[in-house]
Amino acid sequence: MKRLTIEDMDRLVYLAVPDLKHDGREAVCTVARADKGCNDFVPQVRRFVLSETGKLEKDELVAERSELAKYSPDGSRLAWLCTDSGESQIWIRENGTDRQLTHLRHGVTDYSWSPDGQSLVWGAPLWPEETDAPFGEMTSEEKRVWKKKKDSEPIVVEELMYKLDEVGLFDGSFHQIGVTALDGSSVLLTKAPFEHRNPVISPDGRQVAYYACPDGSIHRLRVQIFTCPLPESITGREDSHKGSEQSDSQEGARDRYEERQVTHEEYLIESVPLMFDPADAESDRVAALMYEKTENGFVQLPYLFSLTDGKKEPLFEAACPVEEINNLVVGRNAVGREAPPCVFSEDGGTYYFTSLWMGNQHLYVYDRAKKEFTCLGTEDESIQALSAPRSGRMVYLKGTLMYPAELYWRRLAEDAGEKTDTKEAAEHALTQENAWLSEYELPRPEKLCVPTADQKGSVHGWYIKPAGLKPGEKVPAVLDVHGGPECSYSTNFWFEFQYLASRGLAVVYCDPRGSVGYGSAHQKGDCAYGTEAQEDLLGFLDAVIALGFIDETKCGVTGGSYGGYMTNRLISTTDRFAAAVTQRNLCNLATSYGTGDMGFVTGKKDFTSMLAMFKDRVNARATTLRLVDRVKTPLLILHGTQDYRCSFEQGEQLFIAMKERNPQIPVRFVAFPGENHGLTRGGRPEAQKGHLKEMADWFVRFLKEGEFAQQGPQEDRAEKAASGMVPSNGLPAAGEEEA
């Protein structure tokens, strides 16, 4: 059996956004791989022809450099986005031939079919000065000149929220909504200088509903539902635009498509597209996910909104057994796009969703008439990215502990006529893209549930024994803390952990207080930054150590973002770790304010003065930098230079402070040029590999090879204190909680 190497990371295959044809006899899916040549992940669209019982009859390539394929409602056509023309444009397959349908100046970001299958609505990025001539792609030479000019143009900022980690600095463009008929005629429906995303056409074909951010900034925190009337028939209209050479310049036409804001909500969730309720004959109600405030914090639940008056009602008329529709799995295979975690059945009578619960992500069914929930799930699975149900069938992605997500086919229970005898037959895999992993010696993660120290709950988690562990042998271990903290590890294959295990390290990971998917009491209040989360993590680690295969003097700790904060916290309040790797960490709230993309004081009742706020931020729990004098653990700092969530200067401060205050403690800082906060998920393949290799090398060096351990951090510290280099007073004892 082979051991994983860092290069094997390039062999991982990532699936995304499946769709099922109307008759359930064909599915499509985005399949992405790392490409060494361009140092990026390249997606392709694949098509799977299925038998009546969902057996795979044919698996073929539809298009390279393509993603987000969707069947027209009647199944006669297939659309997808392809970058072959230089921009991401909608392409269509009909009667066996493929053609490029749209020619937006900067391409299309998202789209959906009209219910009659005769047109598609899309969202496309455009600069305000381009909305009068949005059609027609630039030649590569024109684009080069345009890009050079754009890249050198100063960035003007006049509003807050001008940057977002995933997007970078606001470049002045906004997504606008438009529609294109099958003959290529196109109309741009919106023009207002703010973001418009994820358009869907109503079942009666009269209007488009979408999300927009009317305050003009790029932030998505306060999106609203908008609607805009649709030309009665796109094809054959006088004011619609034929071909792609001219623009829609008829001024009079514009008024008829005036957009209208429907909602004035605070907590709509933009990442899940709107869905028209098929059960609503008036074509007036759309379903959207929204945060709802509860006594323990926020939960995500679906609501129905009337497009006429913006009135809302909860979609669930009974208490949801898993509290909410939660999708916040940390570090999931994020290449490509995320498909919605919830869909209606064709008649609207049933609402399917996936949600995290106790480490699994199951498929749930809500029967709207009976007001009943059913869970369709087995242990150790993680169902993501649901297709719309078609003819009583559904496809989705499902990950397990041993394999990244593959495409699965499922017969839905409601299809009563076809009930089968055995449970197994209800679901099976269509792809085995990552079957190559079976050649490798991969230890299976084992589950553990540990009561919390304060007896208020329990902590769920996993541990992985290193490959080739001999009976009685004790090995070093790495505690891995997830980010968020409003995230969760789930039943999934973690290449990072398996790679660490292949280097002879045990891996311990769990969902301490503050994690989602264990009920709102588990994430209540400030426990993620209080003592609870820290004690949960250490308690879980102790419980795994008690199993007897870990050398407790050789434990390391790592984590990203919030996990980086927790790593910093653990090494500045305890001495039990022999090595640490802090990834994209937050260490100083006094400098993260305004440099990251989160957090403002506007309207805060407790705001007294900037100076008071900054001092509070220095003294905050999350500001672990204030405790840097106490760090005795060899520390590796990994950070992307373009991180706008936990800005790069956070990593720099921790490094310089370590160098200056603890010159005896090994510290290393690795910067990843051009990478943002999503480095370990959506970062370039070489950066992801470099990141993991740095981490593994650091742990091997200090946990396995024992470097630095001999001299003993404790003695070293005492020596320094004696020599006057480090204060022996003025510091609270390790482990003592701060005010």
Binding site: N39, I155, E158, K163, L169, G594, K615, F648, V670, L731
Partner: protein
Amino acid sequence: MEKRNAVIEDYYRLHYAGQPDYCDRTQSLAYTIVCGEEENDFYRSEIWVKRLESGQTIRVSAGGAYESNPRLSPDGQSLLFLSDVSGTAQVYVAQGADFSSVCALTHMRYDVHGPIWSPDAGRIAFLCDCEPDLPDELLMVPQTPEEREAYEAQKASRPVIITDYGYKADEDKGFTETRTTHLFVVNTANGEVRKLSDGDRDHVMPAWSPDGKKILVTSNRLRPREESIGMDLFLITVDSGEIEQLSKENWIAYYPASFYPRFTPDGKTVVFGALYPDVSGNMPLTRLYRMDAVPGAEEVNIWPKEAPCHEATCFLYNGETMARGYEKGQVSEDGAYLYFISGWQGEVNLYRAAITGEPKIEQLTRGHHYYSSMGEIRGGKMALLKGDFTHTPQIVLYDTATGEETVAVETNSWLTEVAIEEPEEMWIDSLDGQGRIHGWVLPPMNRQSGQKYPAVLYIHGGPTPFYGYGMTYEHEALAGAGMAVIFCNPRGSSGYGSAHESNRAAFDGTAMYDLLQFVKEACSRYDYIDPDRLGVTGGSYGGYMTNWIVSHSKVFKAAVTQRSIANELIEYASSDMAGSSQGFVNFQDFMIHEIERSAVAYADRIDIPFLILHALGDMRCPVEQAHQLFTAVKDTHPDLPVRMVLFPGENHEMNNHGTMAHRLRHYREMIDWFVRWL
């Protein structure tokens, strides 16, 4: 005849003379002319040779757009220069009548800088960047543009490993892990190139020994990285490549102001500038030393107890110039004197120090002007630049025997059509009674008597540099837009003695009161200034002070902060000049202390229209400063006009070396802001 007002677009007409090199044997002067070209948004730098007897000027070119560093060979028959015609700056040699025969001498992978002739003109020493993992043989092979692009893209995605201080630097360098500057020589006969230094540290400021056997070079190769500005002298034997440390005691002056070490003509002595500790907290002074050119020889301070100047360098903040890397010291041909430039009370003059005998310094020139860019002394004459409040720098020939000066190259004669005036000079007594503040007021152009105009306080950066007698076209453009410009040298500025230069006073409020007092006095002395329409701006330290002054006073009605420091904690780690928490027992106390002295902690008091200008690639005052400052001001004043303009691809030196389009946009943003709100 009525003169017109200055406008920002005039920048495209400004021609900057620079890098003069005089040869007495052929009575020739080589120099560069730099100008911004609007159409392609780049600077064109041309090389010219002037025959001083006939007045004839000859353009020398290898066909590049940016050609610089002209150096006439000792016999005056050859001219070496750098040209970017191949895509990188490489050494070219021009020969023959009118220097019309030009050939490429080097084909290095990266830009070459600072080439100099060996005394017999048989070799040329130059500097070139190297990369740690790149084999030497690849260094000497040029890349095609495609190769360069692919290599840069690959490198741009490579993780940067940082294990020590000093991992980044402003001024185009970025993460310094990637590049180190090394010394090379090329044989002018056959083009053979040899690398003479090694390691992962920089080697800079080369000088040939008069016998051509050794090269004197400055490097930090034996210093820990914390001593980022600690440099020593080394001697490299050219034939054997042997390298030996020459100086040990002093920090050779390279940063913040380079002073090129020199041999005396007999080759027995080396003279150099080194950093001399000033009273606590101040920027070290550049003082002069000599030593025998023998390792371990005594380093003798040749600065007298009583000197007519304060240090052997000057930090003139203004004066329009585009010349990079100009030199600040030359040795006379008899080896008796070291000529240098120093500033005092706004003037920048020529001085000379006796190299041997009793330490002695003489001041050679006086007046409301400034000098820079000293060429080598040949036949008793030295070419250098000279400018003043109403003239951009001209090239003059200075006769070291008689002290006479003749203008050799004039530029920008069209400026006579612009209503450029001499600013009004002012001295005031400081409020604390411990200093006198020197400065100027530039009146609005073509002003009507009896009418009142807005005024802008323009605070210089540093805080060590000073405003002197040099033209600043940005000020002229402000005056051209109908505003007076108030500029002065508050506490913290150099050129007025150590007490005045106090770094502490620059940050503890003293300088702020100096500035406010100066503005108040200007308003009362000049009735054309409307005290209700005052604005304030400045860059770097001037940006810090702009932030501080508008959050601690109610004098100004609009502000423009440029490349500013807002939060000292960000500056602590993210600037290429890392800060220090020394003296604090507890790091948390240090953090609170830094926050209390950070202007951003008082941003809730900034209630006037506020414009922030910053370069995205700034590593001196990192752009995070701007991000946080913008957020803090806008967050606490949602309805206040607050604007931030970020310049891509630029660094802290944008206003000196940025693209012309960016510089002009920067000036225009500032002027428009004041016009709009004042």
